[in-house]
Symmetry: D2
């Protein structure tokens, strides 16, 4: 019974179908009809003109976005638990040619304009110090929590006030939007987000994320950067097909709602053990060594989270009986 | 009737089948069973211990290889027509942090130890000059020609004499081996090649090339570099599946033989128009503006190659009737 | 009365004299006799074979050293107050092509093997995480304190145990050695330091620091990196002359002793206000806004250090009457 | 009798004097009064608002200029004999984070708009190809020749037409202006040059070149880049002093005229041996092995230039009797 990660779940049947349908003769790179339609598809999702580039990993999408925002001698503000800080093997520095990640704290892996102010306060603005040029937040966060539209907008206003660009790592953007019940735009660009890494791989896709730019004029430079990073696949039509199939009929939202519901069911069964509110598809629980061993003995797979906790992730295809079983066992612990 | 490029051809049914079969639960990144078996699979192909990493493009495979070979202040010798020089949007400089491509000439997009010597002769070895640290050749070349094992070995010996590493861009390695009729090792590592970008995408695959390292100890550093470049896909099992399905039963060779045979048929019909010997799956022909228009009017798709020539590429699934039609029309021109 | 910084003090007469004497015809770059003698001169200072490169700033010396120690995907452990972290405008990331500075805390801007262990503990060793490859300490520290030989050796042992390289930023190395009264080797290489940025500019020089490598075999690569950074000056003989004149007769130590004594005199007059022990030539004092205004009104120049403190730096040529005056005024505050 | 290079010549007495005069207490970095006056000084020289940054080498000045002009995925057009291509150890790629030098040919190390057109013609404008973003020329060239104002302007117009920036490597700009007898502006910014590396080290200075920006708004970013490259010296006042002393009373022009006259005298004595017109302070002569040995036996020092030629460089302090002796011997060869 798999609760390790959504990043290894199966591929949705509609995605397979779309990929098979894409196997006719098409021009290479992103000159095929599917790739060419991405801008329009995302413009419809967000209700404004967007440009969208496929990329084969969230790391690539995030780092391309940052590379388009910061000079090498500047910095990017992010949470100390951010994926770009902890889990991308130094990729942000590679893509930005050395820009500095400048971390702040905050509950639930979220941060606020106040944290930005506190970070900036002691930094003189001269050539000796690195000064930020962008902020990046994760939606949903690494703690499985969600920024409200108001929280996003507050950060967007702070970014604007400082003339910083605003990036959102949306590896689980679908789960955030499903939780919020708002429009995708309200959870992102309406709050000032300029570039969104819109995740599909954890949500039924195979190998395609979308980097969505709310200023389409910025796309040209990033298309060059993507090529230069070896991420312009010749048979890119198969990546576009994945994304388009998940956008169609809001399948991405349906998938995320399913995953979120499973997480909520688990959380409800272990309310007193929760490390963080469960707002997306991740459940962080206080469980000690013995309890974890007992869970594993009963067939549950999950990651330890430090010495006394564990992380359970539910995927778009979470099995109802597995979820119920976990909930039952947890409530009985 | 498509002769534009093999890089946009359909995906082989066996590849689709293997991908579908890979859709069970598996650990992410390259910890799945398929990815873990790549080293062994390539070791069998080359008859010696290899390490192999999947990568989503030939550019990524090439540039990771080079990044493992050269310091930023050194250079890479390549042909002036090489893909790394002309078609990768500056990716080699990105991955190597600025190492210099140092180009040489040579017929058929091939070069020789003599060309290396001529390049090196005027360069003083001091801190003011960039000195190479690797050589890179393309097999088959950008002109559709093939280095014999003896030619590879001569370059390997030259590289060794200068203490240069040796990379082979094998985007069409399959076509080269099919032409040579020798072992894959004879066409590469036996001649001194240390890292091979083994192409599958142009030969029936979808989105996976293999970077094969003949010194497995070098793999660890490149696995970090791959992650740092955003090329470590979470559902990497689908890439491994593509590669393994093409290796199985030497499907890669059968595919390449089919493509080569189609090119040979076209070449035979236009012998007096050939720019280069046809040894792989590309045919470069002298055809003027009027002739090209005539060909296109009859439904043939291909790229112009300068003002008075054209390139026809045959794929693993070249349609016999299309090939015959093209041959017929060309011989009648 | 100047207590702003030693980095703006006058140039020592012996340095001027040596520079004038260097103005004869000599080969350019570092092929002149003076530059060629640096290795020998530093080998004598440290009692072991050294290679030494001049560099025009401490930032350049530090960053060249780090560039020789770490791969771009690795990290460098340093104190959160370190110059490389706070005052070099992102230069370490530039020279190392993106390696990450990983900061630790510790009193007096010093850190310990325990801090290293605490930093490493939560980091999994896989491709997703950045793992350090070097440690860097500042001697004397940014708080004007000094690592004892035993403290250096403890860090050296920790570095060795983790297979990390060991860099020392010795912008004020002279002041540290003067304080310790030990050999230069005891304060650095005997404790495991592999590369030392040996500062001269703050200590009577004009524009030359020395990067001292205790493994001379490492010098060749750094000579290329220095050239590539535009730091190989054609009239480098004038930089070598500065360094050699300060080494001659241990002038560097005499200068540092003078500066340290002045700082000690100031510290003695304001013992209850000290933020840190005064072990080198910097005095950090608790003085409020009003007191600072009073000091400035009496002609003393210094930097504020946050809202309620100030930094006074004494130089190699600290004027005895100015120092006495400051001591007098401070004790009367 | 030294004719090796002007880059190792003595320092002019006026420079020494200005440096000594700069040794009073001053704020560090470029906050001293001398550094602060550079913009104004160069604005006077060029008759328009300029910003000017000192840098410790021509390589640093050139590469900072290029870093301000090109994105990492773009290129810089230069002559195949350019210093940035051949003699800077890969520094341009370091500073620009991998931008490509794209070389053209042309007599006397000069090139023309036609050469630019020929370079661009076969390059498709897409993400696969590197497209230039700047042009760079050397004034005087590596062959000791000078672009006329009209030639500069023609290149400037071509650059403008393509939306390329325009850099001039003026390591020997003084010699070029002295030869042309025109205003400094006519030889540079009036022809469209946007950034000029104005050389002083070869012309009586010690360790300071000036990077002159004809759009002062571009200076801020380069000041950060300079710091990040470790080129912001704390005692920068001594660099500013060198430059200002050479600008004063047009000493830079007087020095260059002296060097040029010496070269002209040598050229006149060996007219039939000249490889290139002698327009600045370098004389390239056809002299065979035996002749070179004979010259050296008589005490003349110079560099070989390939198997059958030699380069003689005259400096700002060329000794009249040495020059006459060389002329005499050459005419008698």
């Amino acid at each position: 019974m798999q609760f390790l990660s959504d990043n290894a779940a199966a591929v949705h049947p509609a995605v397979w179908e779309a990929m098979r349908a894409a196997d006719g003769p098409q021009p290479p790179y992103d000159n095929d009809a599917l790739s060419q339609s991405l801008d329009e598809a995302f413009s419809a999702v967000f209700g404004r003109p967007c440009a969208a580039l496929w990329a084969a990993s969230g790391t690539a999408a995030n780092c391309l976005a940052l590379a388009g925002m910061v000079d090498p001698h500047r910095g990017v503000i992010c949470h100390q638990d951010a994926h770009i800080e902890n889990d991308e093997g130094g990729a942000p520095a590679f893509y930005t040619h050395g820009a500095k990640l400048m971390t702040v704290g905050g509950d639930h892996a979220k941060y606020t304009p106040q944290a930005i102010d506190a970070l900036l306060a002691p930094i003189r603005r001269d050539v000796h110090r690195v000064w930020p040029q962008a902020i990046s937040i994760t939606q949903a966060t690494e703690a499985g929590c969600v920024y409200t539209p108001a929280e996003v907008a507050a950060l967007g206003a702070a970014a604007k006030a400082h003339d910083f660009a605003f990036h959102m790592d949306g590896a689980r953007f679908a789960n955030a939007v499903a939780y919020l019940g708002c429009s995708p735009a309200a959870a992102s660009c309406e709050g000032g987000v300029e570039a969104l890494s819109f995740g599909f791989i954890k949500n039924g896709g195979m190998s395609a994320e979308a980097l969505v730019l709310f200023d389409p004029a910025k796309a040209d430079r990033l298309r060059h950067a993507r090529k230069r990073a070896g991420h312009l696949q010749s048979k890119g039509r198969f990546m576009a097909a994945q994304i388009l199939s998940l956008l169609r009929g809001d399948l991405w939202l349906a998938n995320a709602r399913h995953a979120n519901a499973a997480a909520a069911e688990i959380a409800a069964a272990a309310r007193q053990r929760l490390l963080y509110p469960v707002q997306a598809n991740e459940v962080f629980l206080r469980v000690n060594e013995t309890e974890r061993a007992a869970l594993r003995a009963q067939g549950f797979a999950f990651y330890d989270w430090g010495p006394d906790a564990a992380r359970f992730v539910t995927a778009w295809n979470a099995d109802a009986s597995h979820v119920a079983a976990l909930a039952r066992v947890l409530s009985a612990l």
